[in-house]
Symmetry: C2
Subunit: 358 residues, 2 copies
């Protein structure tokens, strides 16, 4: 890929940038985007940075009908020294290729995609918000574009990266959320697509979320699809529990997403010498731990929130409170450390940061 050049077409109509302190999530997009096309027999071609604009696509495109699409989410931060930092972007590109594999989609050159991302960020650097807690959300995704109604892998694809400046996830301090344990709907099952980052997993999860919200909960805790017994994820995040000084997260089993924040939390805990175990954990065990007084902390992990503490769980109308509904000491320390590394405020002993030179 070393010789591939990424053509750039600059916008003639730059948009007005929103104020850093008035940003929401995922509603505003920057002036440019990265695109690259795939054609069977030719491979990936024409990597470009072009003005952000609607795409033109055949209504018969496979993505609309059979959902062949994969995506990633990561963030860029600007430091007080005006450095631009990415958090483990090579992990996202690796996972995107793993998702491709599951969805019968073509492998792409991760280095080239990273170079495209860096080029795009350099061009739209002034869109990175600089108020505490804000960041530039990055969405790489690939869609199947062939106009064909047969159920078969597409012969053409488009790889795109779009950028969205996003506001602080926690505007008024980190408030632990109320979570409903889901007893009817299932997010994924072994043999399905749960471990891939693909659209269908999210479409299927909306109904449970809608029902939970109507009952006053923020998210659902997903149990496994086979026995409705073991904990899998929370909302669109991985989940961790601190039981009697030991941190437990569900082991990767083919239906759980291999989260990059999840991986970072595990590595951080290991670095600190805090016991962290990946294993099956049932909802019964969790409730039993609460009864025994050893359920100390619970939190979700994901790119958007980084750490999302769980303050209350409700399972079949049986409610339990975690750490008096307050964020736990360890949860807070993990949050502060990871966001500190991401934003350049802390040392980065793991080499997690990538600086975007410009």
């Amino acid at each position: 890929m070393g010789n591939v050049s990424i053509e750039t077409i600059m916008t003639q109509e730059p948009k007005v940038k929103p104020e850093s302190n008035q940003l929401a999530f995922g509603t505003v997009f920057t002036d440019h985007m990265f695109t690259m096309d795939y054609t069977e027999g030719r491979g990936w071609h024409d990597p470009m940075v072009v003005p952000y604009e609607p795409i033109t696509i055949d209504p018969a495109a496979i993505v609309f009908h059979y959902g062949q699409t994969v995506f990633e989410g990561l963030k860029a931060y600007v430091t007080e020294e005006d450095e631009v930092l990415l958090f483990r972007p090579e992990e996202n590109m690796k996972r995107l290729n793993r998702s491709n594999e599951r969805l019968c989609m073509p492998h792409f050159d991760e280095e080239l995609a990273l170079e495209g991302l860096r080029k795009l960020i350099r061009i739209d650097k002034d869109w990175i918000p600089n108020v505490a807690g804000t960041s530039l959300y990055i969405r790489p995704f690939i869609i199947a574009t062939q106009p064909y109604l047969g159920v078969a892998p597409s012969k053409t694809y488009r790889f795109m990266i779009i950028l969205s400046p996003v506001g602080a996830y926690y505007k008024e301090g980190i408030n632990p959320v109320k979570i409903a344990v889901e007893s009817e709907f299932v997010r994924a099952v072994k043999g399905g697509t749960g471990s891939a980052k693909t659209a269908g997993n999210y479409a299927g999860a909306m109904k449970a979320q809608e029902v939970a919200e109507a009952k006053g909960y923020s998210q659902v805790l997903w149990l496994d699809g086979k026995e409705h017994k073991y904990i899998e994820e929370v909302g669109a995040m991985n989940v961790f529990f601190k039981l009697n000084g030991e941190v437990i997260t569900p082991e990767l089993n083919g239906s759980i997403l291999e989260g990059i924040t999840r991986k970072s939390v595990i590595e951080l805990l290991q670095y600190w010498g805090i016991p962290v175990i990946e294993r099956k954990i049932s909802i019964e065990e969790l409730y039993e731990a609460h009864r025994a007084g050893i359920l100390e902390e619970a939190f979700g992990t994901g790119t958007a929130a980084v750490i999302s503490p769980i303050g209350e769980l409700s399972w079949l109308d049986n409610k339990i409170t975690v750490n008096n509904g307050e964020i736990g000491t360890l949860s807070k320390k993990i949050y502060d450390t990871i966001t500190g590394i991401q934003t350049g405020k802390f040392e980065d002993p793991f080499g997690w940061r990538m600086t975007v030179e410009y």
Copy 2:
């Protein structure tokens, strides 16, 4: 809806129609399409028949990222008397609304959609091929169009109907196919989206199909996601088995698609007085029936093939042949009767046909 008028914009560049005897499946589209938009607060609006052309859509549209989309498939036929017939289209519109419900998408007026479909077909009537076995494949679908990266139901949608003239599914007589019983991948599980006609189900199924094809099989037979024991579907079809004079099909259980051909086959068998039972059937029971010599016929049912006889099954390298690899008498009779009703050659005692007046 009685007062809703469907605006029409005719194409200025009609395409060259393919020869009826040279059609494939789902690769060629007619001159026009039906579109209708949904905006939260306003509901569905602007139903139109417009020239078939690429659509313009934001790269952040929810359909690309979170797969909020549903679809249907049905066919139109032209009779020797030049009548245009649809097969149970109201069932497709009902199911599309059921799929909408599962995917948190807005209900639409089924009568209005049928009126839009009829109007579209009238305009593109000359695209309906008239060689035996050919038909006009109809694809209604709805996509989430809001540009938003939060995981939440879209506030805007587009309903479209596109038409594709398709060739005979069986060009050289009905050849029973070889089927691999899938032991690793899972199509759906109770609590998921298996009973809805939504993109993610099909994206997830491609990998198993790819593996099966590489081994020389046409399709996979899906087992349930919980125990990998009970038969669910075959490829993207429902499945039936004739055991000792009795026809058995897996009961609807939340993970099986409620097929309209499936329903029609059940109703037809009941009309004929042939025992037909919807119940759980395990792959072990099927193999046991074969050993006992009572597995008489096996076939898939779906809109594209109508009836697809199964000639061979392979489960964990254990192969069995059904009816000497030939189409069974009952399978053939069902195929002839349903296609006879669909194409106007047979009487329609069930009221399954809808004539499109023009």
